[in-house]
């Protein structure tokens, strides 16, 4: 009974809020969103309590058993990610409530899309079979594209269309992989697949197709070109949602597929290739971030770079000792979490700064250091985690990855981690240098509402503190699935 309520709360109430807020408009939608967030927080706490008490479980929606019914797999990883989603999405929603102008024509669609996105993301975390992962990813993509296009201006439309086409191509590659796996093994459940797969051509081809599709959706170098325009042009809280959660959903599907099926279907060449692309993403994304003249474009390119770290998982978990694989998995998951917190904070702080100076260029930030210290402070705290300095979550994640690379004797990946940190410091410093230029005639400031500083600050503090309490999420992630 409790389980029914928890799952209903996680998956169905967001869909209900989406439909209702479509009817009531943006202003009233804020209140509904507040109530919905409180409910999500309660349900998430309930899930924490349930899982720490009794361990993970599998759940058949409406008592319809798989394969025709929808089976959910609720384990420690899913729990941690649901918790992350509740934190980040609530912060982004609260920020959007004050940040977006209520009277713009497209704005009434914000809350419906926001809730559809939330439902889809929770669906991806909890899905126990590869087809429902596909459905969840599609729901996320369609909502995210709608959010990018929210303003209805031509640049936003162009970015949204590019995003949509890229994401659709990725989805279909993924779906073809699903079709091949189902044809070969007759099951969709991840758990059953992990037992059934044998090293053969069909399985490997299916896995390669799925990873190709997921790489496009995660904006892995060199198929990242859609991300910077889309994340750069969206409203700041939307960019925060997209970079923190949407990109992570497809990345996490790749991680889960690799951990479940990779040991049998993977090859060292494929794992090396993914690691190489991840390394290229770290270098290229960070370098391009440094080259940008627009603040949000810089933060968006930083996402391209940071996503690269996630793909170091592939070489560091293939054909290595269990200890190394565990370290690498923990490091990558911790990086995923800390980057989600830090990047959401960066985008929201950037949005506040742009609001203040009325211009998205980095040179226009001159004088912001004096007028908007709190937003800049949040930007700085979050940047500490992006750069990977102690005591942040980013530092602990990179430390674990370095240890894994050391113990596996694969030095190259350790070098990639270190170079990425240095490049991140370069582009972060570029923003700060611009903010502390003193401007003689700097009176043209529009102060954003003070409460908008709270959301980025809160998330940035969490990203920073994550390094000190990293044991807790790592412990939760260790909670297994159904016995």
């Amino acid at each position: 009974m409790t389980l029914n309520l928890l799952v209903a709360g996680l998956l169905f109430t967001p869909l209900a809020w989406a439909v209702v807020s479509l009817l009531i408009g943006f202003r009233a939608g804020r209140w509904l969103a507040g109530a919905g967030m409180v409910l999500q927080a309660g349900v998430t706490l309930g899930l924490v309590w349930t899982l720490t008490g009794q361990g993970g479980f599998e759940y058949a929606l409406g008592d319809w058993q798989p394969p025709l019914g929808i089976g959910l797999r609720v384990d420690g990883m899913a729990l941690t990610l649901v918790l992350l989603t509740t934190l980040v999405a609530s912060a982004c929603g609260l920020h959007a409530a004050g940040y977006l102008e209520a009277d713009r024509p497209g704005q009434r669609y914000f809350w419906p899309l926001f809730w559809f996105l939330w439902a889809g993301i929770n669906g991806v975390w909890l899905a126990g079979d590869i087809f429902n992962i596909y459905v969840g990813l599609e729901l996320v993509t369609l909502a995210a594209v709608g959010l990018v296009a929210l303003s209805g201006e031509p640049p936003a439309l162009r970015a949204a269309l590019r995003y949509l086409f890229a994401a659709l191509a990725g989805s279909l590659a993924f779906l073809l992989g699903v079709a091949l796996l189902y044809g070969a093994y007759g099951t969709l459940s991840l758990r059953l697949l992990a037992e059934a797969v044998q090293a053969d051509g069909t399985g490997s081809a299916a896995l390669a197709l799925m990873f190709a599709g997921l790489a496009v959706k995660t904006a892995l170098f060199p198929v990242h070109a859609w991300l910077p325009p889309a994340h750069g042009i969206a409203h700041a809280p939307v960019s925060a949602l997209l970079s923190a959660l949407v990109v992570k959903a497809s990345a996490w599907v790749a991680i889960r597929l690799w951990l479940d099926l990779g040991p049998v279907l993977g090859s060292s060449g494929g794992a090396f290739l993914m690691g190489l692309l991840g390394t290229a993403a770290i270098v290229w994304g960070s370098w391009m971030a440094w080259c940008q003249t627009g603040l949000k474009k810089l933060v968006a390119y930083s996402s391209v770079g940071q996503v690269g770290y996630l793909f170091l998982l592939f070489p560091l978990t293939f054909a290595v000792s269990d200890r190394v694989a565990e370290l690498a998995t923990q490091g990558v998951m911790l990086h995923l979490i800390s980057h989600a917190l830090a990047k959401a904070a960066l985008f929201m702080a950037a949005g506040n700064l742009i609001w203040a100076v009325g211009d998205g260029r980095i040179v226009s930030l001159a004088g912001a250091g004096r007028h908007l210290p709190l937003s800049l402070f949040a930007f700085g705290l979050a940047a500490v985690s992006i750069m990977g300095l102690p005591p942040s979550g980013g530092f602990t994640a990179k430390w674990l990855l370095l240890q894994a690379a050391w113990q596996a004797g694969q030095w190259g990946w350790a070098l990639a981690v270190l170079v990425g940190g240095l490049l991140a410091a370069l582009y972060v410093f570029k923003v700060f240098a611009a903010c502390y230029v003193d401007k003689a005639s700097g009176d043209d400031f529009h102060y954003p509402p003070r409460r908008l500083d709270l959301m980025p600050l809160g998330l940035a503090v969490m990203a920073l503190g994550l390094g000190l309490v990293a044991g807790l999420p790592l412990h939760w992630m260790g909670i297994g699935g159904a016995p």
Partner: protein, 101 residues
Amino acid sequence: MSPGLLYALAGMLLFVMGLAGFALLRHLLRRLMAFNLVGSGTFLVLVGLAQRPDGEPDPVAQALVLTGIVVAIAATALALVLMRRWFDLTGRTRLDGEADE
């Protein structure tokens, strides 16, 4: 060669044709049609490969394809709305200057 395998191979062919169109065409409407072709190819592969030994159709594969069609229609509708708005505002049928961003 069993009919199922024939369907699957035809599906693969459609998938590759659609993908080529997706990569090569620039007109927005044509790209969308290429996407739909890729989708149809995928569905054919899904139905064609999932043959049960007794020759009966596999209900799971059909349920999946049905869901997949719904998702594809939703995506097509969203793309059409965005494309119409893009055309109304700019009068263009393609996203020019794609390479420079």
